[in-house]
């Protein structure tokens, strides 16, 4: 390998090393430490001045106590489990809404497609937080939705959506819809329409041709979209804390409370490390899916 190439490759690796691996190691180290009423709020800290014995002392003070505690208090397991459930269900709803979106855009006249895609991407131009607050303005008890429904006489009492799990689902589906639509659109757009005709020619009805061709061939996009929604939704903090109620249990919220309310940095770090381990599985699966797709397209 030439020097220039090595240099070029070293740029992203240095970036990842400095901004991902080093912070992760710091978090891992804190998760193995103990809570202390000091600054920083954990012990031990590495005393380099004391030389070798300082390092040895530091090393021996690290333990898995926090991880053991996570298994002992049911709160954490429940929070992980509930996060998985909410993220999975929200991903499913996003798919249910996102697929027709992507299908519609992919089948729209050529000259409309860029504008339609633009409409999907447009919300990203506004801050995520502002969009969530706007959503509160729509779904809260005296929000636009309830006002409208009461005005047309569909309901007499306002619907309670705010501060429930339903609000969290609405928030996740709304926020992450583009991540579902774009990869599905990318696979549907490449789809050769003569494949559908060939399926019909060989005996499929329109519906079974749609199933055995369109749905089958959009699988890589569907898988990619699902992971792109599921992975960030799993650790989501803003949506459950702003839209969800006190009974909405998600690990991102628990982590925030441990860190800021309880100031228990070691336990919060342990929660984060476990969350990362849980996320590694879908991330690896996503990468495998992308690799397979690349081989198919060769």
């Amino acid at each position: 390998m030439s020097l220039a190439r090595r240099l070029l490759i070293s740029v992203p690796y240095t970036w990842l090393l400095a901004l991902f691996l080093v912070p992760f190691l710091i978090v891992l180290k804190i998760s193995l430490s103990d809570y202390a009423n000091s600054i920083p709020p954990y012990t031990p800290t590495l005393e380099v001045g004391e030389g070798w014995s300082g390092i040895k002392e530091f090393w021996s003070a690290l333990d898995f106590e926090n991880f053991v505690f996570l298994t002992e208090d049911a709160l954490y397991i429940k929070a992980y489990w509930s996060s998985l459930k909410i993220a999975a269900l929200a991903t499913f709803f996003t798919l249910l809404i996102g697929f027709p979106f992507a299908y519609g855009i992919a089948n729209a006249p050529q000259e409309w497609r860029p504008s339609l895609l633009m409409l999907i991407i447009l919300p990203f131009w506004t801050s995520f937080l502002i969009r969530i607050y706007a959503l509160i303005g729509i779904i809260s008890n005296d929000g636009f939705l309830n006002q409208f429904l009461m005005w047309i006489g569909a309901i007499s009492d306002p619907l309670v959506i705010m501060n429930t799990n339903l609000a969290v689902y609405i928030g996740i589906v709304y926020t992450y819809l583009p991540f579902m639509v774009l990869p599905i659109y990318a696979t549907l757009e490449k789809l050769d329409s003569s494949l559908l005709e060939a399926a019909q020619d060989l005996g499929c009805t329109r519906i079974s041709a749609f199933w055995s061709v369109t749905v089958h061939l959009s699988k890589p996009g569907v898988i990619a979209g699902c992971f792109l929604v599921f992975i960030p939704a799993l650790g989501e903090f803003v949506i459950p804390s702003l839209l969800g109620g006190s009974r909405t249990l998600m690990i991102g919220k628990v982590l925030w409370e441990e860190f800021f309310s309880n100031r228990d940095w070691p336990l919060a770090s342990a929660v984060a490390v476990i969350l990362l381990l849980v996320l590694i599985i879908p991330i690896v699966l996503l990468q495998r899916n992308e690799q397979m797709q690349r081989e198919q397209n060769k």
């Binding site: 005709e197 005996g203 499929c204 079974s208 060769k298």
Partner: protein, 376 residues
């Protein structure tokens, strides 16, 4: 019909056509793609639809497959009116121009796709797939995915898949368009071979006239949604019914003039002041004293250094250009009238022995039956 007679059901009044178009019109909005067509295609024919792009040949084929509806008129296949019958209910299969092989399925699964959706018992499907693989000589590739195969192999998979359900009619949309020239020529013969073996009626769409001439029993030349001529390849070539067909198929010399004499099957055309009239076969719908055009193929035009007194049709001119093509040469001769006539001569002698060169005055001649006088 006795068994030794050449295959020509279109000449037999009593033969029943497999496909019949009656006054078929197809409009897309205000654009008329197919304009009031009547056509009969007979069982076991290898029928070619030939024409420039946009002439309606693909639309005509897609109507047979059930992918386009008929605006006006009627299409029957095997006596059944096809109006409103979806593609999956027709005993017709299509080989798509892009091949349309399912990329997520192996070759064997592609071939089995249609069979699984037919009433064929499950136990017979594997056997039929094996048989089709043998037909196109791809037994070794059964478990490959389409993207792991060459263009020629994919073409054969597409053909086998379209034939797997043993359709009454196979539609081929530019089946060889994506192949290089050499492979295309080999595959043309393979197609004819398979057509003969299976006895299926083939309708092929192509813009390549050489391909149509090679494979087809009859050719329909189309232009602007109309059938210009439907005939056997030799008749299309030697007895075109119009200047358009003569010009579209192969190379042709056209001389315009006035029809001066008309007998049963010969006609004469006067084409220049003081020049003897040209004699040729009489084309269709010809009437005397109207303007006409004489068409003759370059390979039927002989070239002489001295005036060939024994021949009726003879014109003189100056050699303007010579195109040396290896096996033959084309001489471009400018007549006094300004017309440019091509004469194609086989190079059965070495080029150094050639007696005619640029700027020479030469005589061109052709027999009385070599060309045809057409109404223009």
């Amino acid at each position: 019909m006795n068994a030794d007679a050449p295959f020509a059901p279109w000449e037999d009044e009593t033969a029943t056509p497999l496909i019949e178009f009656s006054n078929v019109t197809k409009r897309f909005g205000t654009f008329t793609a197919i304009d009031d067509i009547d056509l009969k295609i007979y069982p076991q024919e290898f029928f070619a639809l030939l024409g420039p792009s946009g002439c309606g040949k693909t639309t005509l084929m897609r109507m047979l497959g059930g992918f386009e509806t008929v605006t006006d008129g009627r299409i029957t296949i095997d006596g059944t009116d096809m109006n409103g019958i979806p593609p999956n209910k027709r005993a017709v299969n299509m080989m798509f121009q892009s091949y349309a092989l399912f990329p997520h399925l192996t070759v064997a699964q592609n071939l089995a796709f249609g069979l699984k959706r037919s009433d064929m018992p499950k136990s017979e499907i594997d056997g039929r797939v094996e048989e089709m693989l043998r037909l196109v000589q791809l037994q070794k590739f059964a478990s490959r995915k389409p993207h792991q195969m060459s263009g020629g192999q994919r073409q054969r998979v597409a053909l086998a898949r379209a034939l797997a359900k043993a359709p009454k009619l196979l539609l081929l949309d530019e089946p060889l368009g994506a192949l290089d020239k050499k492979l295309r020529q080999e595959t043309q013969f393979e197609l004819m071979d398979i057509q003969e073996k299976t006895g299926t009626t083939f309708v092929i769409v192509t813009h390549d006239q050489e391909e149509a001439m090679t494979v087809a029993s009859r050719i329909a030349v189309m232009d602007h949604g109309k059938l210009k001529q439907v005939d056997t390849p030799d008749r299309i070539y030697e007895a075109p019914s119009s200047v358009y067909v003569a010009d579209f198929i192969g190379d042709v010399n056209i001389i315009e003039g006035q029809v001066t004499q008309l007998a049963e099957d010969t006609a004469e055309l006067s084409w220049g002041e003081g020049k003897p009239a040209i004699r040729g076969m009489a084309g269709e719908n010809l009437s005397i004293s109207t303007s006409g055009a004489f068409a003759v193929r370059p390979e039927k035009v002989a070239i002489f250094t001295e005036e060939p007194m024994d021949r009726h049709n003879r014109v003189s001119g100056i050699v303007e250009d010579i195109a040396y093509l290896g096996n033959m040469s084309t001489y471009y001769v400018r007549l006094e009238s300004g017309a440019l006539i091509k004469s194609q001569i086989a190079n059965n002698r070495r080029i150094s022995r050639r007696s005619i060169t640029w700027g020479d005055t030469v005589w061109l001649s052709w027999t009385d039956t070599a060309g045809i006088v057409l109404a223009s």
